[in-house]
């Protein structure tokens, strides 16, 4: 009885090991863009940052929000600035796409990201934002007009 149970356990263990080995082999590592400029590297060795990036970001997050410490080394915005880049056609994907640098891995690992609910998912330079006051006003007027015409304002 005990022996057969042991055998079963070993068998199951080996099976699981095989499965996980297979899965690891297929891990879709994210495509990392060539850094711009000579000698530009990530803030930590690849292995370390891949495993522990969330710890760095989390630590920085509390320091920045509560203490006003604004060093750039581990800031999420800096991660995004380097890693999220448009493809050859100049297209940039949003964070729900499995081509997004962060989401590519996170989707595979089935770990939900709760960053882009509030943070921009791309570098600021790729966000088209009207800074012209008149354009903004126009935008507001358009919006109001649209609201009144379709009655969704109610």
């Amino acid at each position: 009885m005990t022996r057969s149970f042991l055998q079963l356990t070993i068998f199951c263990g080996m099976f699981l090991l095989m499965l996980s080995g297979k899965a690891l082999a297929e891990t879709p590592f994210p495509k990392i863009h060539e850094p711009e400029g000579e000698g530009v590297k990530c803030v930590q060795p690849e292995d370390e940052i891949r495993r522990n990036h969330m710890k760095y970001i989390l630590h920085q997050r509390d320091k920045t929000v509560h203490e006003g410490i604004r060093t750039e080394r581990y800031s999420l915005a800096k991660c995004i600035d380097c890693h999220v880049q448009p493809d050859e056609n100049g297209k940039i994907v949003d964070h729900t796409s499995d081509e997004h640098f962060c989401n590519a891995c996170h989707q595979y690992a089935a770990v939900q990201i709760d960053c882009f609910e509030c943070h921009a998912d791309r570098p600021q330079k790729f966000i088209k934002r009207s800074t012209d006051k008149q354009a903004l006003n126009q935008q507001m007027q358009d919006m109001l007009a649209k609201k009144t015409s379709d009655g969704s304002n109610e």
């Binding site: 997050r61 320091k63 929000v65 509560h66 203490e67 006003g68 410490i69 604004r70 060093t71 750039e72 915005a77 949003d94 609910e117 509030c118 943070h119 921009a120 998912d121 791309r122 600021q124 966000i127 934002r129 800074t131 006051k133 903004l136 935008q139 507001m140 919006m143 109001l144 609201k147 969704s152 304002n153 109610e154």
Partner: protein
Amino acid sequence: MSDCVNNSRRDFISKVALAGTVTLAPGLLLHTAQAKPDDQAVSSKTRWGILIDTNKCGKGCTSCVDACNEEFALIGSMPNSADTQKTQYIRKVTLKEKTTGHEQSLPLLCQHCENPPCVDVCPTGASFKRADGIVLVDKHICIGCRYCMMACPYKARSFVHEEIVNQTLAAPRGKGTVESCTMCVHRVDKDRNPACVEACNADNHNAMIFGDMNDPESALSVELKNNGGKQIRADLGLNTGVRYQGI
């Protein structure tokens, strides 16, 4: 001269290098060697505040509001929400005295209380006051219960009613959390004026002074000491960081 110097550090600088600095445009004054280093935590030695002179505040002028909307990319960020649901960090309020009919206009924003009711009631501590007196929402731990909005006597807070994309670095903001004026903490940490103050001064209204209330030498403190500045709902004893003249 007081037009362009808005806090103690700038005061100090301008006193030392008087002629040199006053000729510079206000914006250039802002980046001084005195700025807080990025790796240094804010301290309670400072208490940031804003003084608003309602007599100088133009009735139809919305420069401060526009600047704020632009700084945080608020306009158009919530296309599905009704106007009653849209975020406003700062708004122009028109006051009319009930018996005399006397009218004035002033900008109303988060008052950055010393004893903020929003911080008292927040169950998770997401609503908090920084050491330097700026009241903020830590959206990472905000659960969206909206108790702070119930508690704020100034109606300074808004709830994000829908998904937001392409946020600015100034204000990460997202669906289901509460937000409000940050006194442009991202600028203050870089030793710049809040966007509303900057816009008001740029338009030459000069109705707003930003500075350190704890520093008796700051332009803000000097003006407060000489000419006073009232708190809105002073009866609540909240000791607000935003003060008003002319009300």
